[in-house]
Amino acid sequence: MAPGELTLDIRQPSGTTAVVDVQGDITAESEEVLMDAYNKASGEETKAIVLNFSGLEYMNSGGIGLLVTLLVRANRQKQQLLAFGLTDHYRQIFELTRIDEAIGIYDSEDEALAAAGLK
């Protein structure tokens, strides 16, 4: 994968929860890829979408803006948005922008899935 690219893989641990594995860079140019992944992850029964940021390599302010619009879309569908795998650096950004008040941040996938009601 070339620098600057974003790839998103989707897993379905259950019929109501999807995990999106983020690999690469999130910037304003990632909108199409991110929203496409959300559409694939979000089914009629989906209640929670868990973002795995352990492969996140770069994010600018445009990327944060995209996460905010993703959150709006998820809330519109009454879906919970959760996250794990953030480094200290990105966790601090989430806290600074107070996005962590709307997106639950967890230390591991198991904890995030438990919060989503799966485990």
């Binding site: 910037t27 600018n60 302010s61 905010v68 959150l71 709006v72 600074l96």
Partner: protein, 266 residues
Amino acid sequence: MTEEQKPSAEEPVGEPGAPEVKVSRDAAFWAKPISELKLGHDIPAEAINLNVEGKRIAGMTGGFGKMWQKTYKVQLAGTSVSPTDVVKAWKENFARFWPKAGRFYGPLTSISPGDVALLNLSVGGPAKLSTGIFVLYADDTSFSFVNPEGHMFAGMITFSSGTEGDTTVAQVQALIRAGDPLYEMGMPMIHRKEDKFWTKTLENLAAHFGVSAKSDVQKVLVDRKRQWDQWRNVRKNAGIRTALHMVGAPFRAIAKPFKRKKTPVG
């Protein structure tokens, strides 16, 4: 815009033999964590310094009103200026490109992550609104501000430059909600003022490079739902606080000569 440039951040050199500490390529471009805002520079005596010091950042997912994404763009046709040159000049002259509707009291040097600036905005007649901004992010081709609690908007505004074909463009993009119900009621007027403000800012920026151009604006309603659980934000409304401060000015002036001066002990 074409894919934005991502300037590289240097990796730190670790001690020989020690495990390598991986630093994100974007680490240098983000502000460091803070719990509350502090003005780190002097301001002129005429500036109204309210609603910034000690305030928290208004969360990007906070705010009361509908969420809008507004994009203002100007084409710098006929110049060879690069996006990096545009943003460098913009950071160095940000206050100068600010239209006459307000004053921007920022650091004298260029805009950097973590900077805090004071805004005194004219809202009609002698009425002013004192608030501020915090520089959340800044790299070579963009910089972004977020606002303190009490500001008209909760959200983020990004100033950037890129290329479209052979033409360099400059852009202001706001992703915002009205901060509280009072601001939301005033949004039709606030939107009109914002549109005039940022189009004029971009025209001033273009003129700096010898380009006479009008900017265009695109608006997208991202979320038509209001966040009613945020109605209490009105307690921190910077407009109300500024108005009360201005109304109290004559009384403070009268009381000033009667304030007890501290006398040294001994």
